[in-house]
Symmetry: C2
Subunit: 123 residues, 2 copies
DNA sequence: CGGTATCCTCGAAGATACTG
DNA sequence: CAGTATCTTCGAGGATACCG
């Protein structure tokens, strides 16, 4: 049961992490979180604009993932009108922007793999 | 239902991906996959050596994640003895090694965040 | 427009025990 | 030593409908 631990263990918010990489994954590990963050890389976007970028994701799921990203301090939600039609924009916070170099590397690796193993369906 | 798609959509293995980042996450998105890959960054390791690095993970889960990583071509499993005690080593394949630069960035971001938000439990 | 509410499915991960 | 077998739990994500 008790096993020697040869390296760091972290604790954050009551959870245990066996490696600093798992800390990172706690933030970006949601199925579509990297997609959202990546599309916000150089512009604020509205809810429906994000939807158009990821049509396979349901409204509910997108909504939940946005909420988590907001709670984690990675993005900021701003409401621009108080009466319908609402305009809500999402954008990266300064903390969220620290993810950008990593997101670029993640996107590039995926592109390379896609070039060999996947097919581009729409452009 | 049909929404215009403003960017690439990928298909791989019968699944749809809305972004190249989600292709990457398909490979490394498992809860402990990055941890395994990171610890294999410069050395082959045996099953129990990997366990010691990640004591919070159950045997079953470790076993499953290793199997998936092997199926995805990211790591290679080698059995060195045919009779007990068995010696089995896991190491990165050439394809798996293409992940290393990204893993380093992921680990570094996690370390930076941990320095601010987490506490190191054991060393 | 930008979401919630409700209900449901399904797979990831855990607990525990056992094996070649 | 390096797993597998079973059973269970838990939560992410999906489907659909509705709301301010």
């Amino acid at each position: 049961m008790t096993i020697d631990c040869k390296n760091e263990q972290y604790e954050m918010g009551g959870k245990q992490f066996p490696c600093s990489t798992s800390i990172t994954m706690e933030f970006i590990g949601g199925k579509y979180k990297t997609v959202i963050l990546f599309h916000l890389r150089n512009a604020a976007l509205r809810y429906n604009e994000l939807r158009k970028f990821m049509p396979v994701v349901t409204e509910r799921t997108l909504s939940l993932q946005l909420k988590q990203l907001e709670q984690d301090g990675l993005l900021k939600r701003t409401v621009y009108t108080t009466k319908p039609p609402l305009k809500v924009e999402y954008e990266l916070t300064d903390f969220g922007k620290t993810l950008l170099p990593m997101l670029m590397v993640i996107a590039e690796w995926g592109r390379d793999v896609a070039a060999q193993k996947a097919s581009v369906v729409k452009v």
